[in-house]
Symmetry: D2
Subunit: 416 residues, 4 copies
């Protein structure tokens, strides 16, 4: 892609980040609610730091940093770049002020557009700007998940968006069969992908079945009412220990009053039994699946099923930031609505090589004790997903829009 | 005091709180840097809640709370009032907005002035409004100490006030003798005091000596250079364990670069060896005293020495928020500059009775595992102190302006 | 005392230590049930180390350590002696074997008796041997408290001694008045005492009253049944936090089955409502006292009341290791049965000087965040106590035989 | 296998357990050095509980438990059996005495041999006795690893076995190529296996290479000397955090004195640079591999290489309990010496079904956040291993005899 073709996408992605913050106060943007989450202001600055550090610094003539201190302050985890401000203390940075961070964004945007217009840097520059935009989209999603966590801890239950509208009934769950065999997974084609989606390679799959849609709140409520959170038999041993230590008796954002409620980005609302379940840990997803006489899919099974399916679904562009009821017919909700936990630990693909230099730290160093999630969610930017896209979180993570699609082994003698 | 005589003091105290915040951003006011510290916004709201709950609610006709939710949100620790928002989560409250808290203050101020003008409530009302003003003054001091802690954690080292000016040399330390015997301590007279200063009572003191001024940074530096932080022999066993666990090798806000620096409310400055040491724990104070062949005074020794001394000194009204070099002649710095650790644990006086109802929780329930500090500091409001005033903190606390005045037993055959 | 007069007392004290272990297995003696408690084998070795290090090493001609490694292994907390094996790991020392520790004891005993017979060392030696014997007696008590804790964690509830016999009814509680004034406390006379009991000095006491006996299990049960563990109003703030964090709803060794049971050194038995309460924390003692419209005594009040009272009571020599029902008439149970929490923090007396050298670490360095207990318990050796004796533990400690004697301010117009 | 054919194997396995304890004192057998490790006495009792609960209870006529309390006391993790004594408190059980546990073993052995002679129970009984014997063998290995950990924490560095003899030089490391493709893994044939080795199934492998032998201490020392523990670039992010938090700067049992030493079951010895490295975490194994421009193998790669290789190697039967230097020629040390970390997380095989009832808890519930190790070690019983055998531990585990075999992708254009 010619460099100046990136000018419009660059502006569009960067503008959407600011648009997501339009309804927020400066205070909302400053606070960190837990070590796993970052302040919105930090996301705004860090994504800018990414462009300044990995694009402007190597290619801009006479490069001068906007502020020397930001090199450390907004480095997330790149050891090759140098020191980093400690992650759990991101919320202590009342200075630089919000306005300063906006000025930082504007300055880097102006200089980066200048660089794109100049056409210096060639393919390497194109690749890094493109990576920076996908990186920014990931942080757009995190802005929403981190904000939801922050607001959930406020007894006033603030709303970020409009209340979710009434929803129709979910279609019955049925099963789709896949024959397996030696299949290819991993990124294909010339478009952008992260290094962790490569190389494309063969895997052998036994025949399997996937559920036609995500598990609903109503279905998960049956698990609860059947004693799901009281019976260790359903749980992985480590999952049960987690449940007991954290005293979990329902999903993260559910509340038990006279009836069940759910905290959403539209505020605290009655639990909608038809909508997909979100915000469960891997342990809860696994326990539910076992109770339902099913299992979680592997990431290869998921990708094999999703390959060729149009990447359309309920993404952040709809601006309701809450999963929607599944459509009837076929296999639905593969993209959007909720990230789907797979039973696959986040491992390198055969032949995987991390990129050289600091951006090589983007993915590879996290490949231990995390599980892969697939398909994007209702807070994922619309053009961000791919069938080969691998998201990953520790088994304890609940604050992402993580849900469940069930899988089963093919029935013997079936047509799977 | 006739009630409407409180109108002007009320306004003056409440205005000074806001004046302290004038130089701060909304972001600065929202964040909590550790569980012991509270956000400035929370201090602004909690002090208002105190007046609303303990004055308006019982005496205002047709009382309606400004916002029902604030009853829980801004209750600090009064179990008799009901639920409390958890202390470590005060910094998560990005809502109510800063502007809402200002409106809360204005509304309660207006209604309270109306009540004072009406003269309803009599002596009980006077007593509680007066208590509320002293309570607010305590939080004025905490606003400054908590803000200092927050800014100290920011790598940009923001300044809240002007840089401390150059200082003269401290006078030599000498010793003042006190004969002891049966002396009276505790609050005397009809002015305001907290319940923990009562009843006035007799104690027996052996003859003793007090140092003429506070320990300086330069003197404490000698302790460091003599290996004070490396030798357990100087320390209480628990103090040494604390030092090792926290890896303390100098006072909280000192920094070791090429030369020593100190973080102040005026920013990061070279360490001034002539000024009083501040921000040490009880353990550090006790270790220094032992190394210096002295000890900390008891609170009765201190109060006996301070009785009758004019309550003048370096308080917050000077607006430099940093301790000043001692004046020569006599016993100086008893009031202002730095809170002086005593070796007295914070216990009830003989015959102590906590007040009835919720305000009875003000002091008494903290009388365990804390140590008494005396004399006020450079961030204490000017008219807040008394010779009988008892401040108290756990032995680990360093973020208050806590310093050291040495004491010794009278020398045998001396005139003590 | 001429040195060889110590020969018989030395043998008697040392033998009683072994006698306490006669009913124990080698396994019982090896294990450590929590960092605060030590294995019996460690107590056997450490008390021997004390004599070897502080007596044999300076005075024995051609001194050779029994085993060079023991210098570190069995040093409890004397920094001046050098390195120490970490306290929480005392239970990992399966080697040296129990038999080796017995041989260590025998060897040091033989050499020490030789030294005593030789009469070398004079008064300094006498003082240190005497200190060593009192030190050993303290560890005799700890052997029993630590063992009780270990056995309490075993679901089999092993018994160390005979089951406590049936007990009579406790006499009614009444109050004894003391006039106060300037009184003397601290050790008097030429007998042995610890440095923390000195110097004898004057204190001023207001008139006060003491309860005639210890609080009974039955009385404490009333506190529980009245919601004592559910109402924060009775508790110190820090005490309530401790109660919630530890989920305490009754004293340490009580068990709730159909009826209340108590774990004793005689095994698990029905709770005897007539016997004194033991194994409460300072927080529980303080909360009970507040609920009972009383308070804990100060240590000076206690000592003033106990001065001149014969030191007789239910000590370890009775070999039932469980407190007995109070006798009627007068003020009883001052000595023995249960250590009595006082409201006095453990501070140095005016003019206190710790001894020189390593034994100066015996007491002084613990004088912070601990509370004084007085009077000895049913597991204290018979000839160990004095009216001036100061025991001390943190407010959280429950595994000692700690109980409650109530105090009150004198009633106005009374004869107090 | 006819039931009474199990009589001799049963006796042989059970006797070997006791033989392993012959050199230990009763004290050595009682103590627990960390929550992950259990006391030897507990292992002796738990393995006996397994036979009593899963074999005698269902099949013995007139079954009476040896001691009702043991049902809870010695249940490790079987929720279906009922309550369990908490794992971290296994070391507090000084009672039942060691002798009682021996009597428990003897009683169960006698009754079980009776049952085998009676031939009741048929195939189900055979299967469970066989499982019990393999279970006991796993605990034989744990007895040695747990004891090594205990002894390693003792400053006296006790030796359990003879000092390892002098060793020859390790052969040069070279690479063996494997073509990959669709291969079968999982248990094959009619012999015993654990459920986690089933079902046998197809996987697709890219061509790969395996190192001819385990990594040696000398090779790992080069990693250390090259700054391996100082440079985050070599480490997984979570591994680096672990390294920093635990302050690891060398493998668990290495000691740095003037020269390097290693704690072994034969005591503290000079580090032998020729022998295989043992006692590294997954993080250390992964970091070393990255530094060495290689990677860890997957479990499928390992099993494909090991299939058909005779199961011979340095196992516990040699009684030196320390890994030996590799033999020259071919691919060596696949079995014995050290468990080999694979990069495969411990997941269920496609189509995996856990057994019904309590024994279904044996493996499946641990399939999260653990990594597979292959090949057995120098403390694994001789006839315990299979090529399909899957051991598993969390990435942090170091106290097992875990080592490293390097793998690489086949070189392009190579013969792989």
């Amino acid at each position: 892609m010619p460099l100046n073709d990136l000018s419009a996408p660059y502006r569009r992605v960067r503008d959407w980040t600011l648009e997501l913050c339009a309804a927020l106060s400066v205070e909302d943007c400053c606070v960190q609610s837990m070590p796993d989450a970052s302040p919105v202001k930090w996301h705004l600055a860090h994504t800018t730091w990414f462009f300044e550090t990995f694009v402007l610094e190597p290619w801009e003539r006479g490069f001068q940093p906007f502020n020397e201190a930001f090199r450390v302050l907004y480095n997330s985890y790149y050891n090759a770049v140098g020191d980093k401000h400690p992650r759990p203390e991101r919320g202590l940075l009342t200075r630089p002020a919000f306005a300063t961070v906006l000025a930082y964004r504007a300055d880097v945007d102006r200089r980066l557009q200048g660089l794109l217009a100049e056409q210096r840097g060639g393919e390497a520059l194109t690749a890094l700007v493109t990576l920076g935009l996908h990186h920014e989209q990931q942080h757009q999603e995190l802005i929403l998940t981190d904000l939801k966590h922050l607001f959930s801890r406020n007894p006033l239950a603030p709303a970020y968006a409009a209340r979710p509208p009434a929803a129709a009934a979910a279609p019955a769950l049925n099963w789709h069969d896949f024959p397996g065999g030696v299949v290819m997974i991993g990124h294909q084609g010339s478009g952008f992908c992260y290094d962790n989606e490569t190389p494309r390679h063969r895997v052998f799959l036994e025949p399997y079945r996937l559920a036609s849609r995500l598990v609903t709140n109503g279905e998960f409520l049956q698990f609860i009412e059947a004693g799901g959170y009281r019976e260790p038999v359903h749980w992985l041993a480590e999952g049960w220990d987690w449940r007991v230590a954290e005293n979990r008796i329902h999903p993260l954002y559910w509340r038990r009053r006279e009836d069940w409620q759910e905290f959403t980005l539209g505020g605290l609302v009655p639990l909608d039994r038809q909508r997909p379940l979100v915000h469960v840990s891997y342990y809860e997803a696994d326990a539910y699946a076992r109770w339902a006489e099913a299992r979680l899919p592997t990431e290869a099974e998921w990708e094999n099923a999703a390959a060729g399916v149009p990447i359309a679904g309920h993404f952040a562009g709809r601006r309701d930031f809450h999963p929607a009821v599944a459509a009837a017919g076929g296999i639905s909700q593969l993209f959007g609505d909720a990230w789907e936990w797979t039973r696959s630990s986040y491992d390198p693909y055969p032949g995987f090589r991390a990129g050289a230099g600091a951006v090589g730290e983007y993915n590879g160093k996290f490949m231990v004790n995390q599980y892969v999630l697939r398909g994007g969610s209702c807070v994922t930017p619309d053009d961000h997903l791919r069938a080969s896209y691998r998201n990953f979180f520790p088994a304890t993570a609940c604050w992402q829009f993580s849900g469940i699609r069930l899988a089963r082994d093919a029935e013997p003698g079936g047509n799977g």
